[in-house]
């Protein structure tokens, strides 16, 4: 059992939780995630470790409500217990001084991106962060990212904050500005990562992405999280979640994410109607 110590709403449908998990806090590295089971009978859902405090023995999770489990979690607060938190899972990000790095966060992707930016910054890379979202309301973690970036550029699809445009427009803008980009990290919705990688591929810039396929065990046992990278099938939970974005088959990833759409809707309806009954 892991206690939730605090919960704070940081955007529409996005909450930041601080959770007691001393061993994970001590050992986690940027890029790693945990598998959370909220309650008995619950799903095992993967969530990135957005931050950790080894002294306090806590980890930070940033969660967007998209379906049954995340909705249920959004209704939990300080003092509530999560049934299981397993981790840290996945390979840590390869951190080093990469020179000039552009970090692209799309929507909730800011959460998994944050610990990476933090570590790259510490390792001496020069960092330009593109914080992108559909509109101003959906921007999260701006202050956190700003503190660890040399420059932070806010972009929205509709122009309601910062520069109007997509993340790919942001990268083009930086290139036009004459910035010599050594590496790109992009985390966000698969479609966004797909188009970023299409562009960086054309520009010849090495690009790392973090993939979010459906997972169950998170230990390499089920193969449900498999993704195609280059010619090989990889298990994102143990071989990733980060991969060379220029090699990833994003169309396949996007298709596979939709596998349980109807069933997930059913679970959500069931949960909502249960709650209504309970009231």
């Amino acid at each position: 059992m892991h206690q939730i110590l605090s919960r704070e709403t940081i955007g529409p449908d996005v909450c930041r939780y601080v959770v007691e998990a001393p061993e994970i806090a001590r050992r986690r590295k940027p890029g790693q995630f945990v598998i959370v089971r909220i309650c008995e009978g619950g799903e095992r859902i993967p969530l990135t470790i957005a931050d950790a405090d080894p002294q306090a023995g806590t980890i930070t999770l940033i969660v967007q409500t998209v379906g049954k489990s995340t909705l249920q979690m959004s209704r939990m607060g300080p003092g509530d217990l999560l049934a299981d938190v397993a981790g840290p899972l996945g390979r840590p990000t390869h951190i080093g001084n990469f020179g000039t790095v552009v970090c692209v966060a799309g929507g909730i992707g800011a959460a998994p991106l944050f610990p990476i930016v933090q570590a790259l910054h510490l390792a001496g890379s020069r960092i330009v962060t593109l914080l992108c979202a559909r509109n101003a309301d959906l921007l999260i973690m701006e202050e956190d990212l700003k503190a660890v970036s040399d420059e932070l550029i806010v972009m929205t699809d509709d122009g309601s904050r910062g520069i109007r445009g997509l993340s790919t427009d942001g990268i083009r803008m930086l290139v036009d500005r004459g910035l010599a980009i050594d590496h790109v990290f992009a985390i966000g919705p698969p479609v966004m990562m797909k188009f970023v990688c299409k562009l960086t591929g054309e520009l010849g810039i090495p690009t790392t992405v973090s993939l979010n396929p459906i997972m169950i065990d998170g230990t390499g046992m089920c193969g449900g999280c498999r993704v195609t990278v280059g010619d090989a099938t990889k298990f994102a939970c143990v071989d990733g979640p980060e991969f060379d974005g220029l090699q990833v088959d994003f169309d396949e990833l996007i298709r596979r994410l939709g596998a349980y759409k109807d069933r997930e809707k059913e679970a959500l309806e069931h949960f909502r109607s249960d709650c209504r009954l309970g009231q």
């Binding site: 061993e23 065990d217 230990t219 195609t228 596998a259 997930e264």
Partner: protein, 486 residues
């Protein structure tokens, strides 16, 4: 009763749910002997001077001994005899491939020229274990005085549970680390409820807890807890991390939607109890026409689970013939009764997808049988020009599992073989690292419950000797010096 009378007793049938009824539920298929049937079945044993049954049992249970006790109605003695050698009789009685082990060489089966007419050793073993549980007369072993030594067990499958049980009784302090949220390994995530009720597995874990074994669930050694630190904190370690890495076929289309590894499908159904969705949150895809590829127990479990998930048709595609099916005879028999269709001597060439990326068909090639290969089974040979397409909406890949790479990859100090298994001394379970032992599927590759338990036994015995003597290079001698520990 003389031998002739004994041989005249017909095998006692075990009541079963009818095929039609059982595919609509998750309850166990065979419902177990009552005391009379068990006693009568035990009477069929002719008490051989040389019991081939005991020789065939990987843990050497005194089978004629427990059968005699059952015949006399002394069930408490019967279960005590079994438990001297086997700590999970309720499990083994249900899932051991008896026809290839204890019942293979049974004199009674030989006499009838029919191995299925051997004494129903597994059925009686199951009866005793269930009787013990039902009467609540579970005898707890007495623990030796505390030794002050601490051991860690990685993985809570049958190998790990066996080591934990043996070592706690010997007076050591035992902590079991398990990556998943429930103990039991394949017994909880793989083997379905209708073959092995999960209640039985959790009871076994509860008994170990009552003896003082500590379980640390959702703890992944090598991630949550690096092996190096485990070695600092404990006096010895047993690795029983299993063969949890699913193999895929490597044919085009394998990543289409609707194609699952057996592990994924069975984990959703069993560990996450997706059969009770949406009361449980984890969904499972309910195909209408499901093709399972493979011919072992895992494949039978998939094909039968698919029926219980509502599939109208459930097909098994296997590249060899019926005689080579590696599954337990009983599983094949039950699968057939339930309507699973066996498409033998066929191999998938390709999976075909529809415009939305879902699997819609399997291109299959027919096979003939050639000369026996290294495994002694006749090698399947493709028949040219025999390809055809079988329509389907989901495919379950059940062609085997490889050793779990988590420990070897995070702890390269431990020597592995070229299949990724951990190298361990057969007589002691010792690995290349001092104080680290290993056994079960991580050493054997995907094998059986009882073999995993047998290896756990061997390792526990050696670990005990190691903890008492500190000898490592000649541990085997130290173990034999200790002698009749068991």
């Amino acid at each position: 009763m003389d031998a002739k009378e004994r041989l005249a007793i017909p095998p006692q049938p075990m009541p079963e749910q009818s095929p039609h009824e059982r595919i609509g539920n998750q309850r166990e298929v065979p419902q177990g002997y009552g005391p009379e049937a068990a006693m009568k079945e035990a009477c069929r044993c002719v008490r051989c001077k040389r019991p081939f049954c005991t020789e065939g049992c990987p843990v050497g249970i005194d089978i004629p001994g427990f059968l005699e006790a059952v015949e006399k109605g002394d069930f408490a003695l019967g279960i005590r005899i079994i438990k001297r050698r086997n700590v999970l009789p309720a499990v083994c009685g249900r899932v051991c491939p008896q026809e290839a082990q204890c019942q293979l060489g049974c004199t009674v089966g030989k006499f009838h020229h029919d191995p299925t007419k051997s004494v129903g050793i597994g059925k009686i073993e199951r009866f005793l274990a269930d009787w013990e549980r039902a009467t609540g007369k579970v005898e707890m072993p007495t623990k030796a005085a505390p030794t002050g030594r601490k051991i860690a067990v990685v993985g809570s499958g049958p190998a790990g549970l066996t080591v934990a049980g043996d070592m706690i009784v010997l007076g050591h302090s035992v902590t079991v680390f398990e990556a998943l949220h429930k103990p039991g390994g394949v017994l909880v995530y793989g083997i379905p409820e209708f073959r092995l009720p999960k209640e039985i597995v959790s009871r076994e874990a509860e008994n170990l807890k009552a003896l003082g074994v500590e379980f640390r669930l959702s703890t992944v050694v090598g991630r949550t807890y690096p092996m190096e630190e485990v070695l600092e904190d404990f006096d010895a370690v047993f690795i029983g991390s299993g063969a949890g890495l699913p193999k895929f076929m490597g044919v085009p289309g394998e990543n289409l939607l609707g194609v699952f590894s057996a592990n994924e499908y069975l984990t959703r159904a069993n560990l996450m109890r997706a059969f009770d969705f949406p009361a449980n949150d984890t969904p499972i895809f309910r195909g209408r026409k499901v093709i399972t590829v493979g011919g072992g127990n895992v494949a039978m479990d998939c094909a039968r689970t698919a029926l219980r998930m509502g599939a109208g048709r459930s097909l098994i595609v296997y590249r060899r013939s019926e005689t080579e099916l590696p599954a337990r005879i009983e599983e094949v028999h039950h699968a057939k009764e339930e309507g699973v269709e066996f498409h033998l001597l066929q191999a998938p060439l390709e999976l075909i997808g529809d415009e939305r990326g879902w699997v819609s068909g399997m291109k299959i090639e027919k096979m003939g049988l050639g000369e026996p290969d290294s495994s002694g089974r006749r090698r399947p040979i493709p028949i040219k020009g025999s390809e055809f397409v079988e329509e389907t909406d989901s495919v379950l890949v059940a062609i085997g599992n490889s050793p779990n790479p988590l420990i070897p990859s995070s702890y390269p100090a431990v020597e592995t073989n070229r299949w990724g298994g951990i190298v361990a001394n057969e007589a002691t379970g010792q690995t290349s690292v001092r104080g680290v032992f290993a056994g079960g599927d991580i050493v054997l590759g995907a094998a059986t419950v009882i073999l995993a338990m047998g290896q756990g036994r061997i390792a526990a015995r050696a670990m005990h000797a190691y903890l008492l003597t500190g000898r490592w290079d000649d541990l085997e001698q130290a173990v034999s010096a200790q002698g009749g520990m068991q």
